[in-house]
Symmetry: C2
Subunit: 274 residues, 2 copies
Amino acid sequence: MSKGQLSINLATTRGSWGFAEAVDGCLRHDITAIAPWRDQVEAIGLKEAARIVETNKLRVTGLCRGGMFPAADEAGRQTNIDDNKRAIDEAVALNADCLVLVVGGLPGSSKDIVDARKQVTDGIAAILPYARENNMKLAIEPLHPMYAADRVCVNTLSHALDICVELGQGVGVAIDVYHVWWDPQLAEQIARAGQMGAIYAHHICDWLVPTKDLLLDRGMMGDGVIDLPGIRAMIEAAGFHGPQEVEIFSQDNWWKKPGDEVLQTCMTRFKTVC
Amino acid sequence: MSKGQLSINLATTRGSWGFAEAVDGCLRHDITAIAPWRDQVEAIGLKEAARIVETNKLRVTGLCRGGMFPAADEAGRQTNIDDNKRAIDEAVALNADCLVLVVGGLPGSSKDIVDARKQVTDGIAAILPYARENNMKLAIEPLHPMYAADRVCVNTLSHALDICVELGQGVGVAIDVYHVWWDPQLAEQIARAGQMGAIYAHHICDWLVPTKDLLLDRGMMGDGVIDLPGIRAMIEAAGFHGPQEVEIFSQDNWWKKPGDEVLQTCMTRFKTVC
């Protein structure tokens, strides 16, 4: 079985390019799959972004991002639900494979992670009928436990899949190697996700040693310690053969380099170490 | 059931004090339980450290640290095993409750975390007979997954307890809230640890938002998001009523303050938020 396609999450070239420039860059390198962020889409306008996608026959491997459900009060939670419905509309307009959910952490001054997790499940449940009506898949992305407080309180694939089981059809997972590589249950949970038909996306980058910043110091594939071919083999064995989407937040390194150099490096590493 | 005793891990006052000064400081504040680090013991000499402990009837809630088992080759692994046996000797001389094991991460340029984990289990197995002969308990401390690469590849309580089951009597866990607070399996795994009689230590501090450094930005109890009374209740319900040991690495904050101020704050927070 040959390796799947390469997709570029447009966070990776955020240092140089907005939506249109990033698409032009990808096309120069014969890359035809992308995953944009909502702010990048908004900057150019949804209609124009959708036109660019359609004209160039791009595959959109995901729209980043919905989620951020927990809030300190009911009004805040409703605001978040409404925003997620708009994100579903945008994902539909872009013909995205899925809307990636970065589900949110502890709201306000809360120390109650159990309650935050309940708010997340309730929030996804609230938008799921709308997502189903619009045939848009929701991909819960479990984030590394170091983001449990301020970004995402769903921190293992196991937990994300439990939510999928609870909520049913239309909810799956985005598996990002950066967030899950350390998990001793990784192999069994990827296999479980495959059996559920719940793998909607496969994100790649690398974990650097040392890691200097909790959010913005992700590594290029091959520069860190993640066994990328090993995890790819698990995901392929679980039945997912979609694109591997490169998503690198790198304030002090890759975001400072020219976009074409970043893309060229992604392509080379994709061929050699992924 | 009243709250257990307060213990001070001497990393907490590392900014101001060596072993003897830290003990004097603790005694000034009527704190009679400590947990020193091996470098602090070495600096004053093991005999003198043991004399100070005995003279002042101090409880030593743990010696930090053994572990760091994985190595790139067999000679390196043997060196690590030998060093761990010396650490057991030191823990015995100090009459410590346990030797805390910070087990190690990926050796050399390895990307094979499964193998690193096997090396950890093999390493503990290699020192366990010696620990048993000397009646010294070994406390595996699962560390937060953000340390999986460079410090500790045992990152959940569940995984640590699996190792305890495999190796048998004399191996348990040190539960540090900083490392486990995010775990969706926390309640069930603490209960399991209690049933096994495997809780050897209970460490406290707090998770700050934002966290500015992966290693040296731990918070004082009450300054972060961890539900300290909630986790304490789980640990007490599991049958452990030993001291709560304050262990704070804080390069830019608490390590810059006078030791007496740090201890006074620990005592106040211990009474009010733990």
